[in-house]
Amino acid sequence: MIVDPPKWADGFLRWYCHPELLEDIQGDLYELYCYRLQRYGRRYADVKFVWEVLMLCRFSLLKNPFERKKQVPLALEQEGASPPSLNVWHMPTWNDILFETRNKDYGAYVIRNAYGGNMLLGFSVVLLLWIVIFAWWWIKFKH
């Protein structure tokens, strides 16, 4: 049987509903719609579907617009993929790095790639500064 509830109401549900809850809520609504369609007809089923979609719009079921989506590169989903380097997929921000380090599977590699690079850069700058200051002191006071 083809389930064909009002599209705008279905789209509205998809827009506001939390993605983790959407599948089973939508399934329940479709099942009820299907039952009402057979028993009471299209008009009644449509009206009830729209009413229920509007009544479902509750704070506890809403999508959180501030929730960060877990960005797992496609290559990681393939078996035997090599550990990720953040630079390959996108330019990381500090928030990205902090978010990715929490991952149990590849958090350590992220720390190595991101923080390791930063530490090397920092060490190089300090070393360069030391050489410059030492050279300045050597020229100024020794000769």
């Binding site: 389930v3 599948e23 809520i25 329940d28 609504l29 479709y30 009820l32 299907c34 479902l56």
Partner: protein, 111 residues
């Protein structure tokens, strides 16, 4: 304990899930069972809100089941009572029984 008590609808939904066979408790089935047992029509939004709250309290756990054509290929989410939930059920029943015993003035025995 504060925050552990159940509201009226929460208790109704929770007891209905406990009474359903394991692996049968999903949204529409719970709604139908409540209607059959109490004659009360529960809104699907209220039901899902309550289910989410009970799951976050740790009284229920859920798993995704199979999809059917009448659900437009969407899977069902089946709910089962956790051991903590079972303990809460026993507490609810014993509290209610104590109160009824005080009202009736006799001892009620569960067969």
């Amino acid at each position: 304990m504060k925050g552990d008590y159940l509201g009226e609808l929460e208790e109704l939904v929770f007891l209905t899930i406990s009474s359903l066979q394991q692996g049968d408790a999903y949204g529409v089935a719970i709604m139908n069972e409540i209607f059959e047992q109490t004659g009360r029509e529960v809104n699907i939004g209220a039901l899902h809100s309550v289910l989410k709250r009970l799951e976050s309290k740790g009284y229920l756990k859920s798993k995704m089941g199979g999809a059917t054509a009448e659900r437009g290929g969407r899977r069902k989410r089946y709910f089962v009572v956790t051991p903590l939930g079972k303990k809460v059920t026993d507490e609810i029943i014993s509290q209610k029984l104590q109160l009824y015993e005080r009202v009736l003035g006799t001892t009620i025995k569960i067969l």
